[in-house]
Symmetry: C2
Subunit: 378 residues, 2 copies
């Protein structure tokens, strides 16, 4: 089929005030340009992409947040509809999308003044298809729907509606610090906040002697995978050398509390970085009850003293649901490779941290001072 | 079919340490008893439910968190398998689940010592079915799978695996305060935290002269709907009279900031209630960028000074995804009924709250004092 452009539809943006909407639309156009390297046009609540390579562009649009659906289409003028529709039908026949047995419907939408109604035009176009192919009309549950959209004189014909990733245009919702490890969960939480329009600084804590180079390698690969969704607003990476702090926690802190002190330190450093870089929130992959460290008591204790909101989009999800998203977005394959895990984890980690005892432990290990020191060296 | 029991499978619990697992299993058994009013047995990582009314019990199990799947089954002894399987097949034929054209497979699992392998038993049972019905075996992609599970001498036969709601047993993860309004989002966030095992206190802010009795009525109905998932650990309701505070915000505070001060007050009152009732977190229905008040800047400003973690399971979801869950759990029908909304919302609500100016506004309206007063009267 010889498509000339792609019609892009967007969703929630439509609900905003006209000022906000205009800002969102401009950002979406910019992100699409950056993702596809194509010419992009915006007109009356629609975005039109003029692809150099159709297949490639369709794949790229699938990863631009804010897009609800999109359709490869041909354009023509109202006067030429008959001829162009016949050609379009030829294309469908060639591709095997339409046969004499396919039930079909024509859906017509109009913007502007015309001397025919939408229904009349649909009937007219339907007759052309029946005459040419002899296939049966079925308005309620057709195998194939051909859409004819008329905007003043300009006319678009298409039959595919490809689902987009949804969400809001990346970069419209401000910046966040996302704690990104080499595991399964944090790439998914990062993805979900990107989907809701947040620009991301990905913060990795390198456990050094308690971790492996493999883990660090996986972090880099995960950022690459997520960057496929970040055209126009790429993820920034920051790496914290965290081995000394972990040694310190193990040597000076209560044995059970290593994970609590570790997580608490992560939030503190993320807060400082948020402040410095103009981020408005911290994102992490917590999910209640999934592992030892994710009890409500531990969440309360580790978040104590953190000045920024900590957003945990996975907090109410099951592991299986998280894995399903990871699989869909292409991070599961990377995360699931074994990297040895963290060797600083004690045999019996605290599962019911007491906030007073955590405060005491932090004082005992000079937590604030060391965290300051680490942050200075970041 | 004359089933004698229901086999219940649970998921993530299996990952926990044996002590935690045992506690989770006991809680799940208790919740199932409470939901179904049936006898329930626990043995070797399985739960068995003995229903008085099969249909009714199956429906109830669908709303007990922690259950991954369940199967109505018949029991017999190994020596009687042939005879009982023939009867089971008769039942399947009668129900039309099995015909001479149905492709089928037998899956056999064994625990204990037997003088046959699982594969041998599957072959033996398969031969019985073929001889009786003449239907074709298909091991890779059958229309119907009949499961034969042998545990020592006891044998279970079943063919259905009904999907459960997943999650963790309600009440295993401590208590939370959930801000529940009459809208679409907050029942879903409440549901998701219940699903992860959290006991809920539902906190409703009655806007009084700025709200309608309809809204309050919807809150009650929403709690009833959610309580269908809360057998054994019902939701507690708390209602805060909030009209005076809203008047005060409108009269004394900056016009644009009514929603900011309102939300901020909600979190403060929820914190106090959490402290008093032994809750460990606050839950709300925030989703970044969905409405004017849910910008990252506003989230930061309204959460300032709240001592408890605020968990927002919808924070990374699109409105459509939230509505889909609401529909599935039965709250959408209730929420979508118009209740007039909140009349305290200003014409141009703040969308980019500045934390310093919010602090100032709070001081100007004697926020802390009034919140204390409201809480005393709760």
């Amino acid at each position: 089929m010889d498509y000339s452009l792609i019609i892009v539809r967007y969703g929630e943006i439509g609900l905003k005030s006209s000022k906000v909407r205009s800002r969102f639309e401009r950002k979406l156009v910019k992100n699409i340009k950056s993702a596809t390297d194509c010419e992009v046009d915006r007109n009356q609540g629609r975005i039109y992409v003029f692809p150099k390579n159709m297949e490639n562009t369709l794949n790229k649009l699938n990863k631009v947040f804010g897009i609800v659906s999109y359709s490869p289409a041909i354009t023509t003028y109202v006067d030429d509809i008959d001829e162009v529709l016949e050609k379009y039908v030829d294309g469908l026949l060639e591709e095997g999308v339409l046969t004499a047995e396919t039930t079909f419907a024509i859906k017509c939408r109009r913007v502007g003044n015309h001397d025919f109604t939408s229904q009349e035009m649909a009937g007219h176009c339907g007759a052309i298809v029946v005459r040419k192919v002899g296939c049966p009309v079925n308005l309620s549950n057709p195998d194939l729907t051909i859409f004819v959209e008329i905007r003043d004189d300009e006319t678009f014909i298409f039959h595919e509606k490809i689902e987009g990733p949804g969400g809001l245009p990346l970069g419209t919702q401000g910046k966040v610090i996302s704690l990104l490890s080499s595991g399964i969960d944090s790439p998914v939480s990062t993805y979900l906040m990107m989907k809701r329009g947040c620009e991301v600084i990905a913060l990795y804590f390198d456990g050094e002697e308690f971790s492996t180079p493999k883990a660090r390698e996986k972090f880099d690969k995960l950022v690459d995978a997520l960057n496929k969704y970040a055209a126009g607003v790429p993820i920034q990476k920051r790496v914290v050398k965290y081995g000394d702090y972990l040694s310190h926690c193990k040597d000076e802190g209560p044995e059970k509390m290593t994970c609590i002190l570790c997580k608490s330190g992560m939030y503190q450093i993320a807060s400082k970085l948020a402040e410095k870089t103009g981020c408005l929130a911290i994102v992490d992959g917590s999910s209640v009850g999934q592992v030892a460290s994710q009890t409500l008591a531990n969440i309360l204790a580790t978040r104590d003293g953190c000045d920024f909101p900590i957003l945990s989009p996975l907090i109410g999800m099951d592991k299986l649901e998280i894995e399903r998203i990871a699989d869909k977005i292409g991070t599961f394959e990377i995360s699931k490779v074994s990297d040895g895990g963290c060797s600083a984890v004690p045999k019996y980690p605290e599962t019911k941290a007491d906030i007073v005892r955590v405060k005491q432990a932090k004082e005992d290990i000079n937590h604030d001072e060391i965290i300051d020191e680490i942050f200075k060296n970041l």
